[in-house]
């Protein structure tokens, strides 16, 4: 393998796999700093209002308690860009679960007991946590998450829809969803004079350093952020969270290293969530199935302190050719925790809605849903008119249909049963944009013939450091074993965050370039490198972020087979098969893991995951993994991920597109469409739990 040809594309094992399975990989709470204290936050017990009193006296009398930080005594910080980081700065309570105090103690148990002993009084106000269409506070935002325009319109969508011979007008609801990475959000901070070191569970240490420098008014050079191993994030660690601010404050106040490891039950209110969406889709088509009108109107919520608008209608600007179209968003600020990024924001809920509606249109037309999609394939990106750098969604649909055995399907709903089980199959397409951000990297050749690649990438479990090593080995033309890659430390060359499926492209680009330069220098250099070695750096600013004249997206197709138990309304998936076209696949093993992981998360979205905002108390009801149901092994069936190799010269030197998110896009629609095929009933609200399904089966 390595050394005998290209390392890229090979099924290379994770470089840090052994460290992880032997427990020697250190996560943010696991750095044994001398004198390290632990801190536990106190969440607000009202949904809206103001703290009128924090009585810490009882807590301070408890053994081991070192300090209680409140809005009255916590260090002042500069106003953050993300208002959710302005913790303990004022008495306002923007939502239930907002942190109103922090107890620092010798041990975790003492800190927790201290937090329970803090008495907080509030002036509570009436609150509203329920998003609904036509909410008086709703408005159309200028831009939505990702910087996209809130509204786009082409032609005359309303009149074209009114005149269309075949029409579908449906509204679907996706509930709030939580990222719930395996490792809860955790930070350990240590001050050495005016130098700050932070070990944090983050998707991007460069961004954490920039934020801490601004908040604590320090030069960035005096801050080191370490995120060497991170137990997942799914977007919720894409930006710094209150844990890192609180740990830094607490370390400053106590003069001790302090760890803030958030309890699982605090995550829903503190680290972002996928906002619920109510999405109305109107599709108008001719009898031949060609779309004449496409309207996608998404309503969502945000908090009182942040405008974050889930860009659910945006994928409808990419997928299908329709001469008349409207894509627009409404957002309602409510007394809810701030929503944020969760795996494939926008595309994930938006494609659930669009791909469900397309399936409904296929039913109305009596047309095969694969063929209907093929028929509406655009030759340019519908919204921008740009040519696609590469687009193989039709090939994904065809290849998936072949592998899945789609042609054997009886298209009639409720046509297949096995005893009490109704069996159905469904299909949906997937898309996710190609994102890439500037980064820097350094490559060094050492006298012993080995190489060190340095880049402040973050490996959140995806295999990033492994793939970067492959890219480096390939560019250097040396075996993989001779390359060591350092990531996860802000003293390394600055790099972008692990988000938007951009990591491999953003980091691999400067790694590739630095290694290519180094190889050229080595070629000119006679003999082994001198004592310190030879090095080369690369910075992709101005290039990676240059506007492309191409529309660049990954595409895919999902096929699902599911059963619906007519006795219980329980829906289970039997088979899930995805085919993706995402540029060049750089590591077959870790890529498959990303696709299958995304599909599994999509399965959870379809069948088991859902969160409820409590109308009486204002917080999320499901706050642990016993009640917020991520799929268990028994839920995950025969699951297959395949890909079509694309050669696309408009991306980056590796020719890759991001693969971290597309696996979750469309999965829920494919499963929902299979449930319709099984039952003949359209369920338009997720997740498909027995309470929703059983009643409709009888009707």
């Amino acid at each position: 393998m390595a050394g005998t040809g290209t390392a890229l594309g090979a099924s290379v094992e994770r470089r840090e796999g052994r460290l992880k399975v032997t427990g020697t990989a250190r996560y943010a709470a696991e750095h044994p700093l001398p004198g390290r204290a632990q801190a536990w936050p106190v969440p607000a017990a009202v949904a809206r209002g103001r703290v009128t009193l924090v009585d810490a006296s009882a807590a301070l009398r408890l053994p081991g308690v070192l300090a209680v930080l409140t809005h009255e005594n916590a260090p002042r910080i500069a106003e953050p860009e993300d208002a959710a980081l302005a913790v303990l700065q004022n008495p306002q309570v923007p939502h239930r679960g907002w942190f109103v105090a922090l107890v620092v103690a010798e041990s975790l148990e003492e800190a927790r007991a201290g937090a329970q002993a803090v008495r907080v009084e509030y002036a509570a106000e009436d609150f509203d946590v329920t998003v609904r269409p036509g909410h008086p506070d709703g408005y159309e935002p200028e831009t939505v998450n990702g910087g996209y325009p809130g509204r786009r319109e082409h032609g005359h969508p309303d009149s074209a829809f009114g005149e269309a011979p075949v029409r579908v007008d449906v509204t679907v609801r996706v509930p709030p969803l939580h990222n719930h990475p395996m490792e809860p959000h955790t930070s350990t901070a240590r001050w050495d004079g005016d130098r700050l070191t932070v070990y944090t569970s983050s998707q991007g240490g460069t961004e954490v350093r920039r934020t801490l420098a601004a908040l604590f008014e320090l030069p960035a050079e005096q801050i080191t952020v370490v995120a060497e191993h991170v137990g997942g994030g799914f977007g919720s660690k894409g930006t710094p969270r209150p844990d890192v601010v609180l740990a830094t404050m607490a370390a400053k106040v106590t003069g001790r290293p302090v760890t803030v490891a958030l309890a699982r039950r605090y995550l829903p209110a503190a680290v972002g969530h996928r906002a619920p969406t109510l999405q109305r889709l109107r599709l108008g088509a001719g009898p031949d199935g060609r779309l004449t009108a496409l309207s996608h109107e998404a309503t969502t919520h945000t908090s009182r302190i942040t405008e974050f608008v889930e860009q659910a209608a945006v994928p409808s600007r990419v997928m299908y050719a329709a001469p008349n179209s409207l894509t627009t968003h409404q957002v309602v600020p409510l007394d809810v925790p701030s929503p944020s990024w969760m795996r494939a924001p926008g595309e994930c809920p938006g494609m659930y809605a669009l791909e469900s509606a397309v399936d409904e249109l296929a039913s109305e037309l009596g047309m095969d849903p694969v063929e209907l999609r093929v028929r509406n394939e655009p030759d340019r990106e519908p919204d921008t008119g740009k040519p696609f750098s590469s687009r193989h969604v039709v090939e994904c649909l065809r290849e998936g249909a072949r592998r899945f055995g789609w042609e054997r399907r009886d298209p009639r709903p409720r046509s297949r049963s096995e005893g009490p089980l109704l069996v159905g199959t469904g299909v949906a397409a997937a898309t996710y944009p190609v994102l890439v951000w500037p980064s820097t990297a350094e490559a060094r050749a050492l006298p012993d013939g080995t190489f060190v690649v340095r880049v402040n990438a973050t490996d959140i479990g995806t295999g990033a450091r492994t793939v970067l090593t492959q890219i480096a080995a390939d560019a250097l033309g040396v075996p993989l074993e001779r390359v060591h890659t350092e990531v996860g430390n802000s003293d390394l060359p600055a790099a972008s965050l692990a988000g938007g499926s951009s990591g491999t492209a953003s980091w691999g680009w400067p790694v590739h370039r630095a290694c290519t330069r180094l190889a050229a220098r080595l070629a000119e250099h006679a003999g082994p490198p001198p004592g310190k070695g030879l090095s080369a750096r690369a910075d992709t600013a101005g290039e990676a972020d240059a506007e492309s004249s191409y529309a660049r997206h990954a595409f895919g197709a999902h096929f699902a087979e599911g059963t619906v138990d007519t006795v219980t309304g329980e829906v289970r998936v039997r088979r899930l098969l995805g085919v993706f076209a995402a540029g060049r696949i750089l590591n077959a093993r870790t890529a498959r893991s990303q696709f299958v992981g995304g599909m599994t998360m999509g399965l959870g979205m379809a069948l088991t995951e859902g969160s409820t905002l409590d109308p009486a108390f204002g917080d999320f009801v499901e706050r642990d993994l016993a009640s917020y149901h991520v799929p268990a092994h028994a839920d995950v069936p025969a699951i297959e991920a395949h890909w079509i190799e694309e050669s696309d010269g408009h991306l980056n030197p590796m020719g890759s597109k991001g693969i971290g998110e597309i696996g979750i896009v469309g999965t829920a629609a494919a499963i929902g469409n299979a449930v319709h095929h099984a039952t003949g009933v359209r369920f338009r609200e997720l997740p498909l739990t027995p309470d929703r399904v059983l009643g409709a089966l009888a009707g």
Partner: protein, 330 residues
């Protein structure tokens, strides 16, 4: 922190004495629920009396053909035991439908019976809960109650008992054996847990300091056809939305013996005595099962979020009874 004492008991008598000697004591066995509740601040014991190593970890067939299951037999061991699997399939099935492999390896028979509700308001100190703090109100009644009781609830409490095992034990006429200061006594499992009424803080009829020493499965239900069915949001590691355990013997097309209990519908395993009475001696047909179950569930008082539980419970009960009534495949 809230410190607590720890006493490891070697005998039942030692355990009872230690409990009596320490106000605010709690018995600890597998700890799969109690320790979680301590972390949440819901339980704040002064002393833990560890009964996990009492010599109560065996299963014993009694001369009359009944089966005594020691209080500290682990859920995994009970589920896998040949006598449980062969004679009381509903029990083995119920155990395996509960929790996860890791939890079943730690959880005990007695601890399973004494586990607390998973009502989110009970677990959240910032919200009212009459079970946790009598007189504070019922958060679930005001808030979200999709998972809550439809039978036997009171304005004070909507909580359900989360055990799968207890549902099977109730249907199988099992008894709980207790040791306390006033000696030993036993109660039917179906009467061991209480309805909330005005005192939701009391889950069971257990008296302060009393210790469950064993559960006895009677000879009368041994080897009768029995089964457990559980409906849930995900395929594994989820509490029931509704569950049913049934024992049924059919003779010449008629119901000779029947026991039915529902889980996740009430503050206790709900023994369906009305349905049983309606069925006894009558025809063992799907129609009869359906009528009888509907008669039982007519007492249900669903709330805004949990009306689905009534048809769900009906369907699984009719399904299980119908399958039990079918002649065994040759």
């Amino acid at each position: 922190m809230k410190s607590f004492g720890y006493v490891r008991a070697g005998t039942v008598e030692e355990a009872a004495e230690a409990f009596a000697a320490h106000p605010g004591a709690r018995y600890l066995a597998g700890g799969t629920n109690l320790v979680d509740l301590m972390k949440l601040g819901v339980e704040r014991p002064a002393v833990l009396v560890d009964v996990g190593r009492l010599p109560l970890d065996t299963m014993e067939e009694l001369p009359d053909g009944s089966l005594r299951v020691g209080a500290t037999v682990r859920n995994s061991d009970l589920a896998a035991h040949p006598l449980a699997r062969d004679r009381y399939p509903a029990l083995s099935q119920a155990l395996l439908a509960g929790a996860s492999g890791q939890l079943r390896n730690a959880a005990t028979t007695a601890g399973n019976l004494l586990q607390r509700t998973r009502c989110p308001y009970f677990q959240d100190l910032s919200k009212p809960c009459n079970k946790r703090e009598p007189g504070s109100g019922c958060g679930a009644l005001m808030g979200v109650h999709r998972d809550h009781a439809v039978l036997g609830w009171s304005e004070q409490c909507l909580a359900t008992h989360p055990s799968d095992m207890a549902v099977a034990l109730a249907a199988l006429d099992a008894r709980v054996e207790l040791h306390g200061a006033q000696g030993s006594r036993s109660l039917p499992v179906a009467e061991f847990h209480r309805l909330p009424g005005e005192h939701p803080e009391r889950d069971t009829e257990i008296r302060p300091g009393e210790l469950i020493t064993s559960v006895v499965l009677p000879a009368a239900t041994a080897e009768l056809p029995s089964a457990y069915r559980k409906a849930r949001d995900r395929a594994s590691y989820a509490f029931a939305l509704a569950s049913v355990a049934a024992v049924l013997r059919v003779a010449e097309g008629r119901v000779a013996e029947v026991g039915i209990a529902f889980g996740a519908l009430a503050h206790r395993p709900w023994r369906a005595t009305r349905a049983e009475e309606a069925l006894r001696g009558g025809p063992a047909t799907a129609e009869a099962f359906r009528e009888a179950v509907e008669l039982e569930l007519a007492a249900a008082r669903p709330l805004r979020d949990n009306a689905y539980k009534v048809p769900l419970a009906r369907n699984i009960a009719v399904d299980v009874l119908t399958r039990l009534a079918a002649p065994a495949p040759a």
